[in-house]
Assembly symmetry: C2
Amino acid sequence: MAQGAPGPGGGESLLFLTDEQLRKGIEAMFFAYRGFTADPDRILEDLDYGRAHHRAMHFIHRSPGTTVNNLLSILGVTKQSLNRVLRTLIEDGLVESRIGRVDKRERHLYLTPKGTELERTLSDAQRARMRAAYRSAGPAAVQGFRQVLEAMMDPELRRQYQTLKEGGA
Amino acid sequence: MAQGAPGPGGGESLLFLTDEQLRKGIEAMFFAYRGFTADPDRILEDLDYGRAHHRAMHFIHRSPGTTVNNLLSILGVTKQSLNRVLRTLIEDGLVESRIGRVDKRERHLYLTPKGTELERTLSDAQRARMRAAYRSAGPAAVQGFRQVLEAMMDPELRRQYQTLKEGGA
DNA sequence: CTTGGAAAGTCAACAAGGCTGACATAAAAT
DNA sequence: ATTTTATGTCAGCCTTGTTGACTTTCCAAG
């Protein structure tokens, strides 16, 4: 399927949809994701935290007061898995869990000042790389980057992403 | 840093470098990567393999006869970690390991017909999603996508990626 | 030719962070 | 009063990383 050169009747250059081009895109995702996580990972390994802690803090920072259930659906892990991470963050005083006022079953999550500080250190590192990449590629490339990524998401995740996107904009 | 609106003297719109824009890019990477791996993961979970097996098969398919050491540097894991994956693939007859003719310490890796078949099933699934994303975003967006990803890689990984890229082109 | 180090690969044991299942509690909804 | 929902916890499993110790092979210096 779409292996070799496209037939001469291919219309307006569908060359970018060849298996070869797609494979390059796949490999680009693989290598880029390593870079994407490399800087926070380096910082985290000195502390006793992992990537899972970073993700939790990122989204709590992003939506302060979010509930456990909400976070669960964003992160796409089981509550047991998230709970392990959350427990250590709470014990270490990076995250605060407040019982809901209207629905007392819910726990609303907030970063403490200490948690905010670590989150900031981690995202500064991650943003620095992203900023350098954006700057070197330019605004038009960035727009294309975002378009392709968005099209690559599962529909449900795309909705989650867009909800977050609007909230912050 | 670069938090709020940029000053009026910002030149030609550096709005795409605000922390807010960068954060959207970070979240887009996070959600898109989930989609990126979702289809092969679904196939793999029925068999007894994981994402690590997929990665190994991908790059063996890509560079038949590659050595373990070579694969190691591409995948960025320890040889012990790779070895476990490789061992099961060899036991199950998906990968063949041939002792090097010139240097007998080296093992050259090849996919067997059975391995080629599974690799194809997995990459077909992954390419299908990538193709849909590419098609919906269009060739200009794809170019930008690749530019940003490439800029995001660690320099060493970028070299690896480019070497692979040329080899296949 | 021998010997010592480097390189490639393998085996064993451990850790992080996913997962499932079972169960407890409190609050809300019916 | 009963059921459902939100959360938390314990136990145990799996994948895939890690480090350490070891073997085999190669090569180069003596």
